[in-house]
Amino acid sequence: MSEIANTIFSPELAARFDKLVTIYPLRRSALVPMLLYAQDEVGYISDEVIAEIAERIGILELDVRNVLSYYSMLRTKPAGKYNVQVCTNISCMLRGGYEILDHCKHKLGIGHKETTQDGVFSLEEVECIGACSWAPAIQINYDFHDNLTTDKVDVLFQIYRDGQGKDVK
């Protein structure tokens, strides 16, 4: 039984949140993980998500928004089903990160922080994702793809389009 009767989350996520707020010495510590998990399920941090998380933790909605606006992986607008994050930081840059980014833009027909019309892909240029020695690298949702070439990117997009890609969340 969830702490909140009219939850907007699935029963599984609600149960996870019920537990999450109890494991930390301070309830509020659960905030960042909750926002991430809610985003995974809902697709973005909606006003309803903010309201319910604030209630679950016992803080103001303003406190939630204050934290939400700080972290680059949290978004307040929907993204595509597969969010493609292309690293262009120094190690990736030296090994073709920008070429990969341009290729993704061309292939998907969208720019930075945009979503394809069918809602399958969204694209983001991001700072270092910690795959420097395997550059250039991208992350699709939470799945890493490294040592990329433009040909490999084409194959990847097709795999995801066909519904065969790992949907790591």
Binding site: L26, Y70, S91, R95, Y98, G130, C132, S133, W134, F144
Partner: protein, 438 residues
């Protein structure tokens, strides 16, 4: 998925179990896992700290502070609970070493956390990974759950009457959170901005309690040190720099990868022997030796040992062990611009010199890169960077200023030539690309 590499010069301590299936708890135990922590319980905190001090292990996150000493600073008596916090918020461009530890040997981080906890008298540890490492969190979460199932974590671990718990989580994308006090803020559910120090975390840390914060690689070394003995570990490295360390070599080399080399190993050999030399037979132009915040080195400066002291004497830093190699085709103006664009994006905005300084340097370098620079710009960039140094609560300001100063000092002519219209290197970024996302 990151590929494992190896080279005969490697000395595998912390990477000893990589690729052997040690994510499985039974395999980990078979490979001497959870032996060190049981010995630590039997022999007590003083023994642990003495071994850690003898090992000469210095923090692998970048600052290089002696780990044993850090642990000994935590007050023995405390009204508030004490905590261990593992910093897996690896975000320094060029650095990807913790990535492979979490991927291949998560139990070593768990065991190390327990050892740190025993050393300071803590019953609760946190393993905090960067948000982008969610797939690694799943691996660590499973390892933690397996350890609980075996009775290695929780109440009465190994039947010894000792309790220890571990909580795992990720951040949500913020380089700044890698700074220890910002990490504590983030873990307390707040914006990840730094705290004023003192008080230091060893006295007033997480939830106001005494806290030990260590980088994931530092923590993963602890079980190995206790198993082999602190002195034996120290002997693997160089003077005042015990042991080995993981180096993530990236950029224009033939065999990029994460290699474990003894402290003090030659930077030249790391680039030319271990990583196979410069890609496609090109010439070396520059090396960023320890992550993007470390001052750049010229080809004639690379005959230096990779340890904290020798790199410091060479006018740079060992940092987080991320060696980025640049070949002759790279435009330093462009590389410097991409570097500062990162720091400008990641500055939390708390301190004005960092917030404004990174922004002005980026704006100036963008104009230079765009072809609209003037003669004073090089001096202005240096002036701005020098005025950021030491004037911020956390080291992000310094991390942005130090490489900028080095780029300008060591490649001044290239900047001046660029402004005069003679552009060196092959352009990679268009100004629109850079302005678009950052």
């Amino acid at each position: 998925m990151p590929t494992l590499v190896s080279h005969p010069d490697e000395v595998k301590i912390v990477s000893r179990r990589f690729g052997l299936g040690a994510t499985d708890i039974d395999k980990y135990v078979e490979l001497d896992g959870y032996k060190a922590v049981q010995e630590a319980i039997a022999k007590g905190p003083e023994w642990i700290i003495n071994e850690m001090k003898a090992s000469g292990l210095r923090g692998r996150g970048g600052a290089g502070f002696p780990t044993g000493m850090k642990w000994s600073f935590v007050p023995k008596q405390s009204e508030k609970p004490k905590y261990v916090l593992v910093n897996g918020d690896e975000s320094e461009p060029g650095t990807c070493k913790d990535h492979v530890i979490f991927l291949h040997d998560p139990h070593a981080v768990i065991e190390g956390t327990m050892i740190a906890g025993l050393a300071i008298g803590s019953k609760l540890g946190f393993i905090y990974l960067r948000g982008e490492y969610r797939y690694l969190l799943k691996i660590v979460e499973k390892a933690v759950a397996d350890a609980y199932a075996k009775g290695f974590l929780g109440k009465n671990i190994f039947g010894t009457g000792v309790d220890f718990d571990i909580i795992t989580q990720t951040g949500a994308g913020a380089y700044e959170v890698g700074e220890e006090s910002a990490l504590m803020e983030s873990l307390e559910g707040k914006r990840g901005v730094p705290r004023i120090k003192p008080p230091f975390p060893a006295v007033v840390g997480l939830y106001g309690g005494p806290t030990v914060i260590n980088n994931a690689e530092t923590i993963a070394n602890a079980p190995h040190i206790l198993l082999m003995g602190g002195e034996a570990y120290a002997k693997l490295g160089s003077e005042r720099n015990g042991g080995t360390r993981l180096f993530g070599i990236s950029g224009h080399v033939e065999r990029p990868g994460v290699y474990e080399l003894p402290m003090g190993y030659s930077l030249r050999k790391a680039i030319y022997d271990v990583a196979g030399g410069i890609k496609d037979g090109k010439k070396l132009k520059a090396v960023v030796p320890g992550g993007s915040s470390c001052p750049v080195m010229l080809p004639e400066e690379i005959d230096v040992g990779l340890d904290f002291d020798q790199m410091g004497k060479a006018g740079t830093m060992l940092g987080s062990g991320g060696i980025v190699v640049l070949d002759e085709t790279v435009s330093i103006v462009e590389f410097a611009l991409r570097t500062i664009a990162f720091y400008q994006h990641e500055s939390c905005g708390w301190c004005i010199p960092c917030r404004e300084g990174t922004d002005w340097i980026k704006k100036t370098l963008t104009r230079v890169y765009n072809g609209g620079g003037n003669k004073k710009d090089v001096d202005n960039v240096q002036y701005l960077a020098e005025n950021m140094l030491g004037r911020t609560f956390c080291p992000l300001g310094d991390a942005a200023a130090m490489p900028t100063i080095a780029f300008v000092k060591k490649f001044r002519k290239e900047f001046e030539d660029y402004i005069a219209g003679n552009k060196a290197g092959t352009p990679i970024i268009t100004v629109e690309q850079l302005v678009g996302a950052h």
